[in-house]
């Protein structure tokens, strides 16, 4: 069965969507990502959708869901490289994905995640030192 690979890079997960998403694939991806976060204890997820050219409301909602689920599991999710046409479509569909972090490129997204991860690490150290 077709599957979108979820790669592990240290504390982060890297997902690159390079095929047209259909609903089953999206649900499978959701399962995979949540499973991996739990397995590896990842603190960040980077989803690259620069090759994604067609979206519908389901895929939009799925992106929002993955971000929300990651947060529940203790990982930050960043969606990077959204195409202008995709962004316009999502806005016209009324989906502004308020809880989702975004970045222009994989590089910028990585920076954002590493920043968030290190902040989280420092934060926990601070907490430890306080107690």
């Amino acid at each position: 069965m077709e599957r979108i690979p979820v790669l592990r890079m240290g504390p982060l997960l890297l997902v690159t969507i390079q095929v047209d998403m259909h609903d089953k694939l999206a649900l499978q991806l959701q399962d995979d990502i949540t499973q991996r976060i739990a397995d590896f204890g990842s603190t960040g997820v980077l989803i690259d959708i620069s090759s994604l050219e067609v979206v519908d409301s389901f895929i939009g909602r799925m992106l929002a869901n993955i971000a929300a689920m990651s947060r529940v599991l203790g990982a930050e999710a960043v969606v990077v490289g959204m195409q202008p046409a995709v962004a316009i479509t999502l806005v016209e569909l009324g989906m502004s994905l308020p809880g989702v972090r975004t970045a222009l490129s994989v590089e910028a997204g990585m920076e954002l995640l590493i920043g968030a991860v290190s902040r989280a690490a420092h934060g926990s150290e601070d907490e430890r030192s306080q107690t």
């Binding site: 959204m82 316009i88 502004s96 994905l97 975004t102 222009l104 910028a108 997204g109």
Partner: protein
């Protein structure tokens, strides 16, 4: 009705002379068209009318036989519309052919009342129809002109400027409607991708009024940019516009707004970790400053 064609072709020169003379009193525009040019144009028109009348009914101006004549009229009217003739002038140009044509018919069919009346009726109906064709073509040309200008205006009015590495500015001039917003949005998002810019400043100094619809369009653009990972700052909010926005209850809380483009630019520089410093004071200014200081000390 071949008799009509016969009359026109036999009296062609005289009709043309009278036609041009008649126009000289009313609608001729020597500033827009020379006499020789007009003469040549009248000649082609008369020839086309003769061909049209000969080929078929005088009544079927929409028919195949009149294709050539119709084309000539349309092209003449189109060129006149572009030259700046008024619609009255263009219609009168065709209708002023009536007088010389009628006098030629009267001259030929003097004895026969019935036939003369029939022929005149045919001629007047024919010219009326041709005048309508001309007016229609005139309108079509003007319409085309308006559409093209609209498009040009649209393209002109949505430039995306790169202010700094990673900082874009989009000065909007004029009212934002749905079609323009669509264009502005596409333009901005594409440039964001092309230049890999993290910040986009939308300057609305040139937008005369902001109502709920315009605000909604702006918010859509900003949301789309955010989805792609770029941050938008609105600048150029005039005091009246700020008042209107609050009175209308438009929620711009999630959007950073600034009064001036320079403030927005400073913010964008700051957020991207840059700062502007003065490396040296300008010589003239420095002198002024020192004299000022001296004065104060005194």
């Amino acid at each position: 009705m071949n008799q009509l064609a016969e009359i026109i072709s036999r009296n062609e020169d005289r009709i043309r002379m009278q036609w041009i003379d008649g126009m000289a009193q009313g609608v001729q525009r020597p500033d827009l068209m020379s006499k020789a040019e007009l003469d040549e144009q009248c000649r082609t028109i008369l020839a086309a009318i003769i061909a049209g009348v000969r080929s078929g009914g005088w009544i079927e101006v929409a028919g195949v036989g009149w294709d050539a004549a119709r084309e000539i009229f349309q092209s003449i009217s189109a060129s006149r519309a572009r030259q700046g003739f008024s619609p009255v002038e263009v219609a009168t140009y065709v209708l002023s052919l009536k007088k010389p044509l009628f006098s030629a018919i009267r001259g030929t069919l003097k004895g026969n009342q019935d036939e003369m009346f029939d022929t005149i009726w045919a001629a007047t109906e024919l010219l009326d129809r041709l005048a309508l064709v001309t007016t229609e073509a005139y309108m079509a040309t003007r319409e085309e002109l308006i559409v093209r200008q609209q498009q040009e205006l649209m393209e002109l009015s949505t430039p995306v400027v790169k202010l700094w590495d990673g900082i874009l500015a989009l000065p909007i001039i004029g009212t934002l409607d749905s079609a323009r917003t669509q264009m502005v949005m596409e333009n901005l998002l594409q440039t964001v991708v092309d230049t890999n810019s993290k910040f986009a400043i939308i300057d609305i100094t040139g937008v005369p009024t902001v109502d709920t619809l315009v605000a909604q369009h702006l918010l859509k653009t900003i949301t789309a940019a955010r989805l792609m990972g770029a941050e938008c700052i609105i600048s150029g909010v005039r005091p009246q516009i700020a008042q209107t926005i609050v009175h209308l209850g438009i929620n711009l809380e999630d959007v950073v707004t600034k009064a001036k483009l320079s403030d927005a630019f400073a913010l964008a520089l700051d957020r991207s970790g840059r700062t502007v410093t003065r490396t040296h004071t300008a010589p003239a200014k420095a002198n002024q400053l020192s004299t000022l200081l001296e004065k104060r000390e005194e």
